[in-house]
Amino acid sequence: MKKNILSIVTLLAVSVVLFSACDKDDGKPVVYYQTQDQMARPAINTVFVDAAEKDVFNTTTPSAQGAAFATKFRNKLLALNPGYTTNLLGLDATAFTNVLATDVLTGSTTGVTSFYDGTNVLTGRALADDVIDVELILIFGGPMATMNPGLTSDNVGTNDKAFLTSFPYLATPH
């Protein structure tokens, strides 16, 4: 009797496993996919993550990135720019790297979408946005974007091909 109950329990457990691993409609096993690479704001991993942790950052889900990486990002920022005080957004090192460490790209659904165009700040990323200059200014430019002038622009302001005004927007390949 005891053994029977055990068998029934085992059977139930097995069938639960089987059912939960099957599509309801066609009975085929569910195929799962696992994160290999991840990205939001441009060049964040490149600039702020140590070589040994690049894969870790790329597979840490954004809601867990802040706790895992904010302090490391702050240390990296101060290594890159030991004279950092605040930046054009008025953010001190801790506030700035707290924002960056949760790596998501915000997109406005009501207005202009731009990484930074003088008015709109982090409301999207358009193809023509000079995102590298924006990041260099925020890292090196100080509160008025006037510090370290040799480091606040790479002096490449446009793409090598013109973008399209209509879908699919990106230029034809070379």
């Binding site: 569910v30 195929v31 799962y32 996919y33 994160t35 290999q36 690479d37 991840q38 990205m39 939001a40 441009p42 060049a43 991993n45 490149t46 600039v47 140590d50 070589a51 690049k54 894969d55 790329n58 597979t59 889900t61 954004p62 809601s63 990296k76 290594a79 030991p82 004279g83 998501v104 915000t106 997109g107 406005s108 659904t109 009501t110 207005g111 409301t123 999207g124 990323r125 358009a126 193809l127 995102v131 590298i132 002038p149 040799g150 480091l151 622009s153 790479d154 002096n155 490449v156 302001g157 446009t158 793409n159 090598d160 091909k161 209509s166 879908f167 699919p168 990106l170 390949p173 070379h174």
Partner: protein, 219 residues
């Protein structure tokens, strides 16, 4: 002068920490995926020509020379997934998934995923499908359920950056960028997935979405 020297030393030590090899924006930034079909180069999110729509672009397999572009292909075992958080907690409320099969890119979503985080399954039924545009052909564009538009295939890499000079600065062998700079990505291609979605499908009651892209491989 002193500031410059201090900065240079700071940059140099940072360069040593990162082994002196740096890539951008996300081009081959991770040892595990470099030169693989799962390597993401960039994500873009912007208002469409029709301002009622939002465009999502995922670029993969960067630094393709023109001569190597025709042979590059999407991997049938890799999902390219746009994750969309519409309530500010950095957890995806919706996903848009693309996977190639038989020369076509099949799209799923935008749809609420059955689980969040690093493991995914294809969600619901396909909402759009488009023939992958071969190198040298004019773009094949399809419109799916709800007016979703999709393109998949090689495009010019829209990213521009004097990465080589940046690397010199980080390595301490240069103290500033050049004028003019030199775009390290000029003349190179990527494999793009471009999706245009009516904003009404995104449930963005706060007026914004937080987006990130992931490549996920079959396990």
């Amino acid at each position: 002068m002193k500031l410059k020297r201090v900065l240079t030393i700071g940059l140099a030590s940072a360069g040593i920490i990162t082994a002196g090899i740096l890539y951008a924006a996300d081009h081959i930034d991770s040892p595990a995926v470099t030169n693989q079909s799962t390597d993401i180069t960039d994500i873009y999110v912007f208002r469409a020509q029709d301002v009622n729509n939002l465009v999502f672009v995922a670029n993969t397999q960067g630094l393709l020379a023109p001569g190597a572009t025709a042979a590059a292909s999407f991997d049938n075992n890799t999902v390219i997934e746009f994750n969309i958080d519409n309530n500010g907690d950095a957890v995806e409320d919706l996903v848009i998934q693309g996977i190639s099969s038989g020369g076509k890119m099949r799209l799923y979503g935008p749809i609420k995923p059955s689980e969040t985080g690093n493991r995914s399954r294809l969600e619901g039924n396909p909402t759009a499908e488009v023939a992958i545009t071969p190198y040298g052909s004019s773009p094949s564009i399809a419109t799916g359920i709800g007016g979703i538009k999709v393109f998949a295939g090689p495009r010019d890499d829209p990213f521009f950056f004097d990465l080589n000079q940046f690397k010199k600065i980080i390595a301490g062998t240069a103290t500033s960028f050049n004028k003019p700079g030199d775009d390290s990505f000029k003349g190179t291609n990527v494999l793009s997935l471009v999706v245009e979605v009516p904003k009404s499908l995104l449930n963005a009651t706060t007026g914004k979405v937080n987006v990130w892209v992931e490549t996920k491989k079959k396990i």
